[in-house]
């Protein structure tokens, strides 16, 4: 497994909570995040990193989206050949 940084559009509420709304893959395709199911701090041993982990439902599937609050970047875990 590898790590892939992606572009994300997120919603910032007045309390400072950040919720991702959609993201873009590097081929230009955009994906809507249907629902955020869980938010917690977690490490990704597969991708190699840590941050706020958003468990998201995207096209009916559950995927993790990480927000690295140290570098302010979003990343996902991907199979090695994709990263």
């Amino acid at each position: 497994m590898g790590k892939k940084y992606i572009e994300v559009a997120a919603y910032f509420d007045t309390e400072g909570k950040i919720v991702p709304v959609m993201f873009w893959w590097d081929d230009g395709k955009s994906y809507q995040i249907d629902r955020v199911l869980d938010i917690r701090r977690a490490a990704s041993l597969k991708a190699g990193g840590t941050g706020m982990r958003y468990t998201c439902r995207i096209l009916g599937k559950e995927r993790y989206l990480y927000y690295d609050d140290f570098t302010n970047r979003w990343f996902v875990e991907v199979p090695d050949k994709v990263s």
Binding site: R41, A43, G48, F70
Partner: protein, 416 residues
Amino acid sequence: MERIILHCDCNNFYASVESLFNPKLRGRPFAVAGDPDQRHGIVLAKNYEAKRYGVKTGNPLWLAKQLCPDIIFVPPHFDLYMNFSQTIRNIYYEYTDRVEPYGMDECWLDVTGCVPAFDGGKMIADELRERIKRELGITISAGVSFNKVFAKLASDYKKPDATTVIPYESFREFVWPLPVGDLLFVGRATARIFERKCIRTIGDLANTSRETLKSWLGKWGEVLWLYANGYDSTPVARFGSQPEIKSIGNSTTLPRDLTELEEVKITFMVLSESVAARLRKHGFQCETVQISIRGTDLSWIERQGKLEAPSCDSTSIYKKALELFIKNWVPGKPIRSLGVRGCNLSSRQVCQLSLMKSVQQIQRREKIEEVLDGLRFRFGNKIVVRGTMLADKSLSDMDPQTDYPHLVLSTVHSQI
């Protein structure tokens, strides 16, 4: 009331953070190492795989390579470690306001009153281990005991990712058979003295009379006796309490060996400016200047001298440092590293007014340097530099204030 003290120690901290961010390193021997081109080529931290080959922190890189030919060296990322360290402390603060850091990767926590019984200490320790592993991907070892010294001993007892408990009722059975060198503050020199006196275990130390230890080691002998007998009562510092700064210094390993006085002057000027700026930042002036010089044969001397008047201007510190250097170092003998330190600190708010011209000059210089501090804060460190520093940029082009490994701030905690 019996206290419940935790000591949490991140296992191979630098190496764990590196392997988290670079999964390819996992399972392979590697070490976080300084830059050999900058002549900082030593092992700063190693993982367990490298440790198995006998690689130790502080080993030069050639030795590490000799011990473990497959070892991989990775450069350090101090900003990342600082960030991790702060995030871990924030987790500790969720459990108690009494969190006292001991270096970047270790902390004491006083959780007395946070849990109903001593067993609760272990519960919190286990929870902290799990949380840090899950949230940050690194492991810690936790020690639970009724004082700070035994909590530290417990956390060192079993690594990695383990909790060890030393309860009051059975501390003698647990602690006393351990080697005396395992006790906090028993370094190599003290251990050697104990070895000569046939004191091999902490139990031997505890059963030696207090007076005898005092006669051997002075007041430290008494302190170690108290520690060995479980009488350590030093409190864990509260959240936000500031450590008392005892001295402020900077040192650097030079990019090449220095033999010329002019080169030494440039280095001392850079270091003095940094020390003076940091003294002013903390509202201090120093009365004594200390220099340290390491030769290429790794011989090392430290000399100190008093300033005419307490001061925090770089010129006074520089002049004293240079004077000490000229007096104590053989001209032409190659130098590997240099350090400058301001000691005997006092507050700048309380200063003796003087009619002496030289003191007035010092005070005038301090005011000028404060203006320079303001300029550097607004426009960067290079907005105003001294002419001497332009003579050799390879020596002057460093910022000791941000060059983390060489920044030394000696502190003792005000509450200890």
